[in-house]
């Protein structure tokens, strides 16, 4: 009996010692207090000579005016964030050099925005950047990625005043109707596909110059087109609208038309696009049909009678024509940049899989430039607004 107890005690003692050693052995000890972490909310990657400059935006919790932050609310003119930057031959080298200068551990798990400078995108391309930001598990594949006009770091530093951090403004903008959501994940899936090229929101910094209200805003100007990972051109204005119409992820927008001297603002609320590759006599062409639903936002023509079908139809025709023009413009631009941002190649692949692998796949770059597109559209004016007629018109 006694022997048995001693044996059990010895066994459990050994067990406890072994368990205790486990604590000392823990090699993957990633415990880190929040106070010791610098959360990167956004980073900007630029080219600087032969080097790559990485800039990160880090919020300063002490300056965010949270209650109980000891030093009191920090609204005293200090910005609630810091921007740190360093250079290196690779992105990771720059980051680790940056890390040596910081007392807190850089943590990329909350990075929601990555901005790439135009120079870098044009000269070196984004493919190497994608490797840098996807290789470590800390990075979010749902982070938005965009290309900036000029230096990317300037966008980080923008003082938008509406949000605490420029990163937050950019994130909100990039997921708003002003843009098409492009996350790291989307870019990767487009980059690896043959017959598809990535496009990015193209952002620039603009200034509000009202006295006492000076601020810097970030504007989504259009879309940057790439081919083989290198930036080849920019779609803006109507061409950008065309890209949005072609893209399946449609976001509503409005557009102003000149109808015989009267300006008319129409909102495009819904759009469906059908893209069909067609083979006629051995030549490939595309038939694109866009169906949009439009509504009237503002009409400067006081005499228009919306009860009249013909006048409504006229508006629809104007919209229809503009949709066709926009799409054509976008395609022309894409062909000029040789960037298949919509993935027309993939449509061919799905429609004619054998032909694609045999004939088109390897030469898609050259074929895409010369492919013909036949664009049609249907517009449906389905909403006239609250009043249905111009309330500014005198009663007759």
């Amino acid at each position: 009996m006694k022997m048995k107890i001693i044996r059990i005690m010895r066994k459990s003692l050994i067990g406890i010692v072994l368990l205790g050693m486990l604590l000392l052995l823990s090699s993957c000890w990633d415990r880190r207090e929040i106070n010791d972490v610098a959360f990167v909310l956004a980073s900007a990657i630029d080219k600087e000579g032969d080097n790559i400059r990485v800039s990160v935006l880090i919020p300063l919790p002490g300056n965010m005016g949270g209650t109980g932050s000891g030093g009191g609310g920090g609204s005293g003119g200090q910005k609630p964030f810091a921007i740190k930057t360093d250079t290196g031959k690779t992105v990771r080298e720059a980051v680790s050099k940056l890390q040596f200068r910081l007392p807190r551990h850089l943590f990329f798990g909350h990075r929601r925005v990555i901005i790439i400078g135009e120079d870098l995108a044009k000269q070196e391309g984004i493919l190497t950047m994608i490797d840098a930001v996807t290789r470590t598990p800390e990075n979010r594949l749902t982070a938005f990625i965009a290309i900036s006009e000029g230096k990317a770091v300037d966008l980080l530093n923008a003082d938008t005043r509406l949000e605490r951090f420029s990163a937050e403004s950019m994130r909100e903008l990039l997921q708003s109707d002003a843009s098409v959501r492009v996350s790291l994940k989307d870019v990767i899936s487009k980059v690896i596909a043959v017959g598809n090229d990535a496009f990015f929101p193209y952002m620039e910094k603009v200034k509000t110059k009202i006295k006492g209200q000076e601020a810097e805003d970030i504007l989504i100007e259009g879309f940057a087109l790439t081919h083989d990972g290198k930036m080849k051109g920019v779609l803006n204005g109507n061409a950008a609208i065309g890209l949005r119409l072609l893209n399946h992820q449609f976001r509503s927008y409005d557009e102003t038309f000149n109808d015989e001297g009267n300006y008319l603002t129409i909102a495009i609320n819904q759009a469906d696009v059908s893209i069909k590759p067609v083979m006629t006599n051995g030549t490939l062409s595309f038939r694109i049909h866009s169906t949009v639903k439009a509504s009237v936002n503002e009409d400067r023509n006081l005499d228009r009678n919306y009860d009249d079908y013909k006048q409504r139809r006229q508006i629809e025709l104007i919209v229809q024509q503009r949709v066709i023009d926009n799409i054509k413009l976008a395609i022309a631009n894409m062909q000029r940049a040789n960037s298949d941002a919509i993935g027309f190649g993939l449509y061919v692949h799905r429609a004619f899989p054998q032909l694609w692998t045999k004939q088109y796949r390897d030469e898609w770059e050259t074929i895409f430039r010369e492919t013909k597109f036949e664009v049609t559209a249907t517009a449906n004016l389905f909403r006239l607004g609250m009043s249905g007629e111009n309330l500014g018109r005198k009663d007759q």
């Binding site: 880190r32 929040i34 959360f39 919020p59 919790p61 109980g68 943590f107 929601r112």
Partner: protein
């Protein structure tokens, strides 16, 4: 259903003071003098025992014994009066017991053991000279607390009566709910010195007979000098002594006892405490409040889900906060994380130390509030709210986020209707916090797995603790994950092993 009992008996032959048992075979003497001598010797230095000697009118001497304060004095007076003006010549004890005395309960006794038991329970005992029997008069009385609202289990809707310290009051409260001869109340006397009356109640014909047998066996095995509360009994009869979880339900409510009896459980009521025991008691009863069955079923179902969520919150929220904030900050939404970071910026402690400080302070406050007189208790809660809630945050010792987590945990633990289950949950969150601080979410997973494994292994009177969820019985789930409307709960819980499964007429 109950499996073989766990060995839990006291080693034999160690209890040497069977005070009353010594008088088992001592007969009552036939002369007053002898009886008086025995009694005086027994109750030497016992000022509360009254030995009243008197003469029956025209007859022999007599002696009435009772414990002062445990009898109704006016009834004793009436009995004495009836005896003193006794007329006639036949002085048999039978005649006194059956005809003379204006007393509801009167019985003859022959041995001193019986006499002492009755006397010390509050009966009055009458010796008559020349008789070797004594008459036991049920004139119990004395001051006791009236039936009041149960303080630990209050309801908005439902009966407001609760048990008190008097066993007969308690059994009558249950009997008045279940007016059926099937309701059995088996009596036990436990405690060699206290001789505490214990009642095992069950519904014959509904309960699994093996369960009753098992309960009887476990009760009769208890050999202890005294039983002052049902907690003594609980620890002796539970299946697994070294478990953090209660395996017997305690309740102050007669309606809860009645409902359990009707389901086929057994109840154990102990004299001297308002807390009755109900067994078997499984995990899912933790979440069942008596009011669930009185309120509308949709509301009750939602409340049950709320309690389920609260159970997890009470167990896990401080641990999750520690794990997520120190190991996995990517799991917190960015803006929330920044708020937490801002509130933690000037805090000198790691999250786990902060959490432990706050949780221990909270437990101390709670304990102080329970123990202190009610008037002082309020001062404690004000002090706690000010010191812990505000001053500590302003001084930058703990973060506001942590105060929120701790108070949410506290509130969540108070939503559990079973106090004994809630305290075991509160206890278990400390090891989970330590695990979380060392291994992060992985540690919490390990802790939860250990707890779930233990729960799965645990039994309560032979019934699996997690029944009816595992082992699963779909028809029993109607009172577990939801509270089905009454007209759908046609059957008694199957896992209790009842033979009498129907509780409603299928043709109704």
């Amino acid at each position: 259903m109950p499996t073989k009992p766990k060995a839990r008996s006291m080693p034999e032959g160690q209890l040497d003071h069977h005070a009353i048992d010594q008088f088992k075979d001592v007969p009552i003497r036939s002369t007053i003098e002898e009886n008086n001598k025995i009694m005086e010797e027994l109750f030497k230095d016992s000022s509360d025992i009254v030995l009243r000697k008197f003469d029956i009118e025209n007859g022999p001497k007599a002696m009435l014994c009772y414990v002062d304060g445990m009898v109704t004095t006016s009834a004793v007076d009436a009995a004495l009066q009836a005896l003193m003006i006794f007329e006639g010549d036949a002085f048999t004890i039978d005649r006194i017991a059956e005809q003379t005395l204006p007393v509801t309960q009167a019985s003859k006794i022959q041995f001193f053991k019986e006499l002492l038991t009755n006397l010390l329970s509050g009966d009055s005992v009458l010796f008559v000279d020349g008789q070797d029997n004594a008459v036991c008069l049920g004139l119990r009385g004395g001051i006791r607390r009236s039936v009041a609202e149960p303080e630990t289990e209050t309801v908005v809707r439902g009966p407001r009566e609760g048990f008190n310290e008097h066993l007969r009051t308690n059994t009558s409260l249950v009997r008045s709910k279940i007016k059926s001869p099937r309701l059995k109340m088996k009596s036990f006397v436990i405690g060699t010195e206290t001789n505490t009356n214990v009642i095992l109640a069950y519904m014959a014909g509904i309960v699994n007979p093996k369960l009753v047998e098992e309960a009887e066996k476990r009760l009769s095995r208890i050999k202890i000098d005294g039983v002052l509360e049902s907690g003594y009994i609980e620890e002796f009869i539970q299946d697994q002594g070294y478990s953090p979880f209660p395996q017997v339900q305690t309740t102050e409510r007669p309606d809860t006892v009645a409902a359990a009896l009707l389901e086929g459980r057994v109840a154990i009521m102990v004299d001297g405490t308002p807390f009755a025991l109900i067994a078997p008691f499984g995990f899912w009863q933790w979440l069942q409040a008596s009011e669930d069955y009185y309120e509308r079923f949709m509301v009750s179902t939602l409340l049950r889900w709320l309690r389920m969520a609260s159970l997890f919150a009470a167990l896990l929220s401080p641990a999750l906060y520690i794990a997520v904030s120190t190991f996995h900050p990517e799991m917190i939404p960015t803006n929330l994380l920044l708020s937490i970071a801002a509130s933690r910026e000037a805090i000198p402690f790691p999250a786990v130390v902060e959490a432990l400080i706050m949780e221990i302070a909270f437990e101390a406050l709670r304990e102080a509030g329970v123990r202190l007189p009610r008037t002082v208790g309020q001062a404690v809660s004000i002090l706690g709210a000010l010191v812990v809630g505000q001053a500590a945050v302003q001084a930058g010792i703990v973060s506001a986020a942590m105060v929120i987590v701790v108070s949410m945990t506290g509130i969540a633990s108070f939503t559990l209707p079973r106090y004994n289950a809630a305290i075991s949950i509160r206890m278990l969150r400390f090891p989970l916090m330590l695990l979380a601080s060392v291994f992060g979410l992985l540690g919490i997973m390990i802790g939860v797995m250990v707890i779930v494994g233990h729960l799965a292994k645990l039994t309560t009177f032979g019934v699996p603790y997690l029944a009816p969820v595992t082992p699963v019985d779909v028809s029993d789930l109607k009172d577990v994950l939801v509270r089905a409307p009454w007209w759908k709960m046609r059957k008694r819980p199957k896992y209790l092993g009842t033979d009498n499964i129907r509780r409603q007429d299928p043709q109704q």
